[in-house]
Symmetry: C2
Subunit: 208 residues, 2 copies
Amino acid sequence: MAEEKMTRDEALARQGYRHACHVMLYGDSSAKLFGKIPIKHIVLMQMRFDGLLGFPGGLVNPSEETLEAGLSRELHEEVGVAVRVGVDDHMSSCVSSSCPRLITHSYIKKMTEAELKEIERAAVASATDHGLEVLGMVRVPLYFLKKGGGLPYFLSHSFISNSRAQLLSALRHCRLLSQGELKEAVRQAEQMRRTHSYITLAQPHQSC
Amino acid sequence: MAEEKMTRDEALARQGYRHACHVMLYGDSSAKLFGKIPIKHIVLMQMRFDGLLGFPGGLVNPSEETLEAGLSRELHEEVGVAVRVGVDDHMSSCVSSSCPRLITHSYIKKMTEAELKEIERAAVASATDHGLEVLGMVRVPLYFLKKGGGLPYFLSHSFISNSRAQLLSALRHCRLLSQGELKEAVRQAEQMRRTHSYITLAQPHQSC
């Protein structure tokens, strides 16, 4: 479904809309899977209370706080540490195609590998939402394994609202993957989702 | 696809098969989501390196170690702490329907809420597989929210091999959910997977 995009200022000028802010926290990594497949980048998402995957964040009331202050507050509850998100981290705003009268604001923030690891630690050790609104943080695989493993399998999961589109858009925006790689991953994911309604996947040795 | 079930001893007597052992770590919880929806139970799964959901564990070579010693070794790598799994925790063994000449062994181990939280902490703080073979631990929602949120949404994700069937079987075995609840969750999950190939879900207020 096509979404109505607008600037941050245009979004804030709209009357009678609720606002939700979410952020993709990401960074570079030199780690190698099985000592040979470069991980390259870490991108954090979370398993939400409703069983869907999404980005950290939540509803913000701009009459009470700025979008970024609200997002930082939500982040603190969900990842257990203070993460300062600013106007410069704003990527896009659009009217939600799935929630009535909701504008979703998407942010991207680059961090170091050590900072991202600290967030993962705090998310289970000190976050007030752990085990409640958040069921766990996960890293998004950005590589491609044989038979679809990696990003295509990941994209075949179920995501909240437009968060899957936000992920793809952010990966393209940050040039973490090429347009061609993203298109191919989406194609494989959708084929998998269509054809494996009850999932029994043939796996290469290492995946079993 | 129907799976060929057997006892642990029958499985070990088979020649020319590889063996994979996985465990469902679970426990009771008194926590309430939004202060009102009882969580009741914690069940741990993980996001795997290939982008699929599954249980902790891996391949074991019974000529070198017992199934349980091998499973405990794999667990230590994946969850960062020693978890003793014994023969008494064995639930079922069956020939894999998706991997050639593989027997999968399923275990269940009940722990306290504090022990499960310690595993979640160690999984990101000290596990050698964190960020490599394991992209994150997640809790399985066992409750039902409006419009399918909770277990049905969770079951609509993509799982490795027979791990989704193992989850359902273990939930029934441990009486964490009734047969009727499980059937309804599966029905909703499969409908969702069939109809939302490109997922844009209409959500109630709290889910947006």
